[in-house]
Amino acid sequence: MLVDYEGHQMTVYVEKENGTYGPTNTGSYLVKNYIDDFWKNRNYIIKDALKQLLNNEISPVGFYMLILNMAPAEVASRVGIGTSQVKKHMKPDHFGKVTVGLAQKYADIFGIPVANIFQVSTETGIINQNSIQQEKTKNPFIVTVK
């Protein structure tokens, strides 16, 4: 079950040659062939969420929540607003009520620049995973794009 996998090293406790149990830093067969492989190719979740977003079935807040697998209650407690408000903001009709300041808070939770609340990549849904590069500036509302 232990394999050489440079990309994802972990500590596993195994039986050593002298019969004692101890730690070894190694790669895992399960992680290499199943878990990492799976997360890297998890496109169908993003594709499904993107389809809903482009069809105006969910708002950008709902889109990123689907991708990150977050519940409304968790997002609400992290942003500091009520759960019912987050549920409203997940719907396109109510998303327009979100202020720029609140959009910034949402963006921080989703780990994206606030600009990405209003734009997506049609290939992967997430902007910074393809050739477009964004860089932060001192202004929290602005990113430069290359």
Binding site: M1, H8, Q9, M10, T11, V12, Y13, V14, E15, T20, Y21, G22, P23, N25, S28, L30, V31, Y34, I35, D36, D37, F38, W39, K40, R42, Y44, I45, D48, L68, N69, M70, A71, A73, E74, S77, R78, V79, G80, D108, I109, G111, N128, Q129
Partner: protein, 334 residues
């Protein structure tokens, strides 16, 4: 730059690894499994509710409890400072780093810059040790990362001031009094007793062995809870990731606990305990088989009723074995 001459080591579990790192740095020679075992880190709970997007299970004690139990059972003193004001919390951290004191901080794992994008999840109960600071970056020792890593000041501020469940609230701690020699016999007994009680004696339906059985009973309903097949495969794969990958040392900490029992058997000079260690290692192997079964189901989208039934049987078998093992441990210790 590592200003504190802190030796970075990978570890199976972030909290026990961080506490072990601080104790070793201050002169106490103790292994990670010993810290994990003494603080009764092994656990099981099946959780579901409105705050969770999907049911999940945990196999570790509550974040923070390892530090608290070690403080109590090994007579170690940690200076702990919590500060909701992130400016003040950052100032305290910077002062300690300037004094070359390796300082552990509680963080939201999502903001750790060095973690690959696809692995980023919000989890407030992660611990790292800050060992240096240079210009706009901190040098941190994260037990899940092979080398010392860098993280920007901005990310560290976000990670320490994250809100939500188990919010860090700027918590940092460092060791102030660490005895060089300590008698481990009593702490070991206390640790085993507490862990075994948690696993077999608590009258709560979702904790310990009862929790494993609840997990087995509920798993067959998972297809009806998922939005679609993609979502279901995510969640089934998460069983495997939880057991194998998320800092467990393989098999949901069972291998590490076996290592602890073996060390404990030597210290207590108890051959029966050494035999329990061997049985725990075998139990770990079976958890890993379960993990592989779930991974196959998730990757190849094998979601027939039969497959879920097979998975259920594997989980029930773990509950039976662990009930026997922890009951025996409880008898041996008390």
């Amino acid at each position: 730059m590592n200003t504190a001459n802190f030796e970075h080591k990978m570890a199976a579990h972030c909290e026990s690894g961080t506490v072990t790192g601080l104790l070793n740095y201050n002169g106490m020679q103790i292994s990670e499994p010993m810290v994990f075992g003494i603080s009764a880190g092994i656990f099981f709970a099946y959780l579901q509710g409105p705050k969770l997007p999907f049911p999940l299970f945990v196999h570790r004690s509550k974040p923070g409890s390892i530090r608290k139990k070690i403080r109590k059972r090994l007579d170690v003193a940690f200076k702990e400072i919590k500060n909701r004001d992130i400016d003040k919390a950052t100032h305290v951290l910077d002062t300690l780093i300037a004094r070359k004191i390796p300082t552990a901080v509680q963080v939201d794992m999502f903001y750790m810059d060095y973690i690959p994008q696809y692995m980023k999840v919000h989890f407030n109960g992660h611990y790292v040790t800050v060992v240096g600071k240079e210009n706009s970056t901190y040098t941190v020792s994260d037990c899940y990362y092979p080398q010392l890593a860098n993280i920007s000041i901005e990310s560290m501020r976000k990670a320490r001031s994250a809100r939500g469940d188990l919010a860090p609230r700027g918590l940092l701690f460092y060791a102030t009094v660490v005895p060089k020699e300590v008698d481990l016999a009593t702490p070991i007994r206390k640790g085993i007793k507490e862990a075994a009680r948690n696993m077999v004696k608590l009258p709560v339906p979702f904790i310990g062995v009862k929790g494993i059985r609840m997990f087995a009973r509920k798993i067959v309903d998972w297809p009806s809870l998922a939005r679609n097949e993609g979502h279901l495969s995510d969640q089934v794969m998460d069983i495997s990731a939880n057991l194998e990958d998320k800092g467990t040392g393989g098999a949901g900490f069972r291998f590490m606990y076996a290592s602890f029992l073996q060390e404990a058997a030597k210290i207590l000079n108890d051959t029966a305990l050494a035999d329990m260690a061997r049985q725990m290692m075998e139990n770990g192997d079976r958890w890993r088989e379960l993990s592989l079964h779930a991974a196959r189901m998730g990757k190849y989208h094998e979601f027939s009723k039969e497959k879920f039934k097979e998975l259920q049987d594997l989980i029930f078998a773990r509950a039976d074995t662990e009930e026997k093992l922890f009951s025996q441990l409880l008898k041996m210790i008390s």
